[in-house]
């Protein structure tokens, strides 16, 4: 069973590398039962959208 700390690490790393089959299963199992990690995972994934929005924003309004 993964700890919440390990889950946040894998949620981050899956944006940078392909997780192993075992990692994906363990991650999915944990996220099903852990609300805190689900929230954290959504927030970590949101950062990527936020960064592309920030770039687009700079595009429209050069400072």
């Amino acid at each position: 069973m993964l700890s919440c700390r390990e889950v946040t690490r894998l949620v981050s790393e899956r944006q940078d590398r392909t997780l192993s089959f075992g990692e994906r299963i363990a991650l999915r199992l944990h996220l099903v039962i852990c609300e805190g990690c689900r929230n954290a995972a959504e927030q970590i994934e949101f950062l990527r959208r936020a960064m592309s929005r920030l770039a687009a924003h700079g595009d429209q309004e050069p400072r």
């Binding site: 700890s3 919440c4 940078d16 609300e35 805190g36 929230n39 949101f46 960064m51 929005r53 920030l54």
Partner: protein
């Protein structure tokens, strides 16, 4: 001898440069500067890479011919110049062990001894709606500026320049594992910073 010969070589590219092309390129300077400034904390370095990009573009008008989007082409050149600047700076910069330990500690304190949350992350109210607010993007920029230099560098190379991890590791001269650690720390710190300064604050206000 070789130099003397080279000096008298004709420069067809420069001769054919159109004033129109030059002004089109110039008009994109503010955009390029903004793009570079997001990645590079040093304003002089950002100015330098933009200048190098504009010069390279002027010299390479022929290379552009036939491509549809000038801005995309210039951004591509700029990315290379930015990565060059990071590589140079990264060689000169000492590894900050104390800062690295502090970052690791900041993540540790979120969890108990068994690795469970000390305080469970709560839901963020309509985060994608926040993306439409100028103030939110300002808060995000503040959070980015609060990251330690090396961590911010890795994160922005990934999320702003859109580089693959392998390339980031190569340029920063670190292992893949260390790269993932830097990106993990950046994301955890940004998540926490946005929670404290934006989403958590909004939640508390609602009561």
């Amino acid at each position: 001898m070789g130099f003397a010969h080279r000096r008298f070589k004709p420069r067809p590219r420069a001769r054919r440069m159109s004033p129109d092309f030059r002004s089109q390129i110039e008009s994109l300077r503010p955009y390029l500067l903004r793009y570079a400034s997001m990645q590079l904390r040093n304003a002089d370095t950002a100015e330098d890479v933009v200048q190098e990009t504009l010069l390279a573009a002027l010299a390479g008008e022929e290379a552009f011919a036939g491509r549809s989007n000038l801005r995309t082409w210039l951004t591509g050149i700029l990315k290379h110049k930015i990565v060059d600047a990071i590589r140079r700076a990264s060689r000169e910069r000492p590894v900050e062990a104390a800062e690295s330990a502090r970052e690791a500690g900041e993540i540790e304190e979120l969890f108990d001894a068994r690795g469970h949350w000390e305080e469970k992350p709560e839901v963020w109210e309509n985060p994608d709606g926040a993306l439409e607010q100028k103030q939110f993007l300002g808060a995000l920029e503040q959070c980015l500026r609060a990251l330690p230099a090396r961590t911010a560098e890795a994160f922005l190379m990934r999320e702003h320049l859109g580089l693959e991890t392998a390339e980031i590791c190569k340029e920063l001269g670190v292992t893949a594992t260390h790269c993932w650690v830097l990106l993990y720390r950046a994301r955890m710190a940004l998540r926490r910073c946005l929670e404290e300064n934006w989403f958590g604050a909004a939640r508390r206000k609602r009561g």
